[in-house]
Symmetry: none
Subunit: 230 residues, 4 copies
DNA sequence: TATGAATGAGCGTTCATTCAT
DNA sequence: CATGAATGAACGCTCATTCAT
């Protein structure tokens, strides 16, 4: 896996001045406003949920005004859908950049786990938005015309790792890539998503790097135990 | 493991017990009103989140009026905290009722897994409320005076299972009960919590009993693989 | 007909101070606010139509705030319906006070005509509100629970006049009271309702008392011609 | 009475005629756009009144965009004025086409009545627009540069009928054509304008052809009674 | 000529909350 | 103990209109 500093959300801060150069180009002014609203909305929806986020907070964070949101996104819901779409695109893009130690299946799985955990920890807004969408029973994403595109590349990555491991006699046959994917995702997602209530009840800070590292190792153990030949 | 005298609602103080005497009487509306508000609020907060839930919706669902919420719970936040407390009490109560095949550690673990999955599936509002609380960074539950009480009984259940398994030479030493607990919880929590988006992207209904059963078996495999001696 | 200074709308100006005496009585404070909103709404809806009237204009005119309208009337439409109902009640009340020269049918008809014209001229808001309601295809008044009560007393007044005139051999038989009522109403309603466009196109001020008097005489002629035996 | 060269749309200026040449050409969109906006606006203003009509509704109905309205009519008010002008032009044009049984004054009057009722019933938007304009106290039409042109041809038609009737000894002298015109117009206008509230309160459908026919006959009776020598 | 972008002001409505009795 | 009345602030959204090219 190559870290190659991919951070799909680290777009919003310093490039502003560069953008104003771009905005001499036709369409750029509008695109800038649109993109800035989208980024602000991502943050605000992630922080406050759909109903807790107000158009005022978003437009203020985007240094724009409420009405521009309607101009570009028709409604609050339209904006939220656009945010979700953008979020998936970025997630999939990130997944597509995973580079693996191709000849060592166990290490490759470990790298996938590390990628997932790192991505969730670096993009807690991804988690928050997904939770919000599930609170709403997934009713927004089904309105997206592009939902079909969002099938995770990671599942295929895992599938090929498993195949290689099986060829090498390391992994059991009859292990479904989807199960392994869900195992990796659920353990890491939950760890980030529920960090506040978990920390409160367990009385320890699960976000401390030591704890994170422990959890990653345990998840790696669990995953590898699940795939290894007995 | 068995139920001791348990009243999931006798949380707040001593006047409560007096009230519960009254509430046997058909005309004792006050206690009933409070409880009905609490139940309605659980449903509404779970369905709409904290900001999406309105006092109007809640009081209507409770067949009461907004003003009564203030009478019993001081504020919307006070009500939400009471809902959270009640939710934890009920969850812990349920965990305390787990009955295990005490002499077969592997089967016991499997029963814990089954209990957790069943509980989450039967109480999706538990999941929704926890997600809402995490969205708010756990800021409500820390205001609860009773949070300390909520350490999960299940961790101890698992601890004793592991100990027994180690004594029997079935399980590895150096396995932490908390890790196993989190593994069980995260896999099942995620499966229920993200059921809408998962179903949308995977293109299949993960709530179909066949799929649920598959996932339970896989989780059992993963858990047991993680604890077994190699 | 007795003029006896009946003016159902002349309620709002000077009695205010008297009301504040009444408002020591429970319910009065609320009733005052409600009534004042109703009066203000009558004026504003009449002046601007349904959509042209804004809740701000109304609440300001009532020296109250927008939200009180929702407290008492649920919605803008609810307020409009209440205004319509009040308007009909007042109209019917006024009609019920018509006193006629009972033994002179021709004069009685003439008095009805005079009453109608006077009422419309003194209550142009009656006309404006009816026009607004017809613009909306009568969709508000059908929501009124009291619509049935609003059958005009004037039709019965005319019916008895016609009967008397027929008994006296002055009027033709086979004249329907409803037709005469509509003849009287339409001629006077139109004259007031369309006063602005009529005056513009005819190039004369139809509201000048001389013109009004002319029209009343002509209408009287037309009505009497229509009922007299040939 | 017959149609002279008449172009109800050639109202504004001389460029128009040039345009109308263009508009024979299938690609000449501009003229068509203007006309389509005008027709859409007529419908929308008639249905919703001035404030209830929005530029959005109009431009959508005209399959154009808001901006085009400003291009052709400067403002919402400008558009409304244009609609009113067009409406009057069409009404006058229709009146100018009335053909009468010139030698039978009574029948001629009856034909005028029939024309008026038919026109109102076939053009309820004429009524709605006039009511809207009167709600606004005629303030738009006075801004029209062409208002002067709109004196109704029908008055003159009636004037000549009355003269003929008097010559024939059928009609009284001292009957003003304007009064008869207003009698005809008011009775029919009111009948259409207030059809919704009337039907609601009288509990019968005044637009049923039987009821319409009855009213036309009664109006005819009233008009003829008013002009006949005793 | 024609159009995408932008805008200030205001819309009807609802929010959680408190007053006053 | 309970409730009608009231409230300031904000909500998502739409209005007619203008800018800039």
């Amino acid at each position: 896996m190559k870290s190659k500093a991919f951070n799909p959300l680290a777009v919003n801060s310093k490039e502003k001045r560069l953008k104003s150069v771009d905005s001499a180009h036709p369409l750029s002014a509008s695109r800038d406003t649109r993109e800035e609203i989208l980024q602000a909305a991502t943050r605000v929806f992630a922080k406050h949920g759909f109903e807790g986020a107000t158009l005022q907070k978003i437009s203020k964070a985007a240094k724009s005004v409420d009405r521009m949101i309607y101009y570009y996104f028709k409604s609050k819901e339209g904006l939220f859908i656009a945010v979700l779409e953008r979020m998936y695109v970025q997630m999939n893009h990130a997944e597509s950049l995973i580079e693996l130690s191709s000849d060592k299946p166990e290490q490759a799985l470990s790298e996938v786990i590390e990628f997932v955990m790192r991505y969730y920890r670096e993009h807690p807004e991804f988690i928050a938005l997904l939770n919000t969408e599930n609170l709403h029973q997934g009713r927004h994403i089904v309105k997206s015309l592009h939902a079909a595109k969002y099938s995770s590349p990671a599942v295929n990555v895992i599938k090929s790792i498993l195949k290689r491991g099986q060829q090498m006699g390391l992994f059991r046959s009859h292990v479904r890539a989807l199960d392994i994917y869900l195992l990796i995702v659920s353990t890491n997602y939950f760890y980030v998503s529920n960090r506040f209530t978990l920390s409160a009840f367990l009385g320890r800070d699960l976000q401390a790097s030591k704890e994170v590292s422990r959890w990653r190792k345990f998840v790696t153990l669990a995953v590898l135990s699940s795939v290894r030949v007995e």
